[in-house]
Amino acid sequence: MELVIQEQSKALTRLALKGRLDTVSVDRIETRVNAALAGGTHGIIDLSEVTFLASLGIRLLLNAAKMLDRRGYKLVLVAPQPVIEQALRHTSLDELIPVAPDVDAALALLRS
């Protein structure tokens, strides 16, 4: 699992996760994800290269969204693969965290 910080500005933090989001990888990157999103901005996480999403990965995304929500910011998830999108739908995470097909759509959601 790889974490890429694609943008950190005064208004936005944009991350990309790549690989398998399972127990071992969540243990390794959760602290870094939360630290990257803790700067007082909205957040975007690109999931397009995530190929496996375990329940601990759901927990990571939910924790990140809750942290931003408590501070008055939003998290948007971008471009999940179909199997990942199904997991988000099944856990109702997609009803709590907006999911956008691309970064432009995610930015539009954050502006709305």
Partner: protein, 159 residues
């Protein structure tokens, strides 16, 4: 702790695992050991020409169900043993997980609530529910003081 699983049947070296409809591996309790075992299971299923969606479901069930056993089934410092068996049939792949952790029947685990807001959302409790979505059946029993969990994943019919 040895992170590398030891093979009960598959590592004879004389017979390709892909030719074996019954394949098993035993590993010591530990998250890294489970990760290595999952990799071995995926490799076995790939060699056996199992579809990617079925491999995903088996891998997911192993991650969640054996992962629960590792996280909650043993006392700190316990060194347990978990056995994973894969049986290939034309219509399904059966995953069997046997362990010596404290008794736990995941088939009785309740579905999580559907939250209305982020603040209401519970952090955990989704894994078994997500497994149910991907598999055809789960059966649990205790056998000689061990947990035995069988998981059936349907294979798409071949044209």
């Amino acid at each position: 702790m040895n992170a590398e699983p030891s093979h009960a049947h598959a590592a004879s070296g004389e017979r390709s695992p892909s030719a074996d409809p019954h394949w098993s591996v035993t590993f010591p309790s530990g998250v890294e050991s489970l990760a290595a075992t999952r990799e071995r299971v995926r490799q076995h299923l790939h060699r056996s020409a199992v579809d990617d969606a079925v491999i995903y479901a088996i891998d997911f069930a192993l991650e969640e169900l054996a992962g629960n056993t590792l996280r909650y089934g043993y006392e700190a410092g316990d060194e347990g043993v978990i056995r994973v068996e894969i049986a290939l049939a034309p219509s399904l792949v059966q995953l069997t997980i046997t362990d010596d952790a404290r008794p736990f029947d995941p088939t009785l685990h309740p579905e999580p609530n559907r939250p209305q807001t982020l603040g209401d959302a519970q952090i955990g409790g989704h894994g078994i529910s997500m497994v149910r979505r991907l598999v055809r059946a789960m059966r649990y029993r205790q056998e000689a003081g061990r947990n035995r969990l069988e998981v059936d994943v349907a294979r798409a019919p071949r044209c």
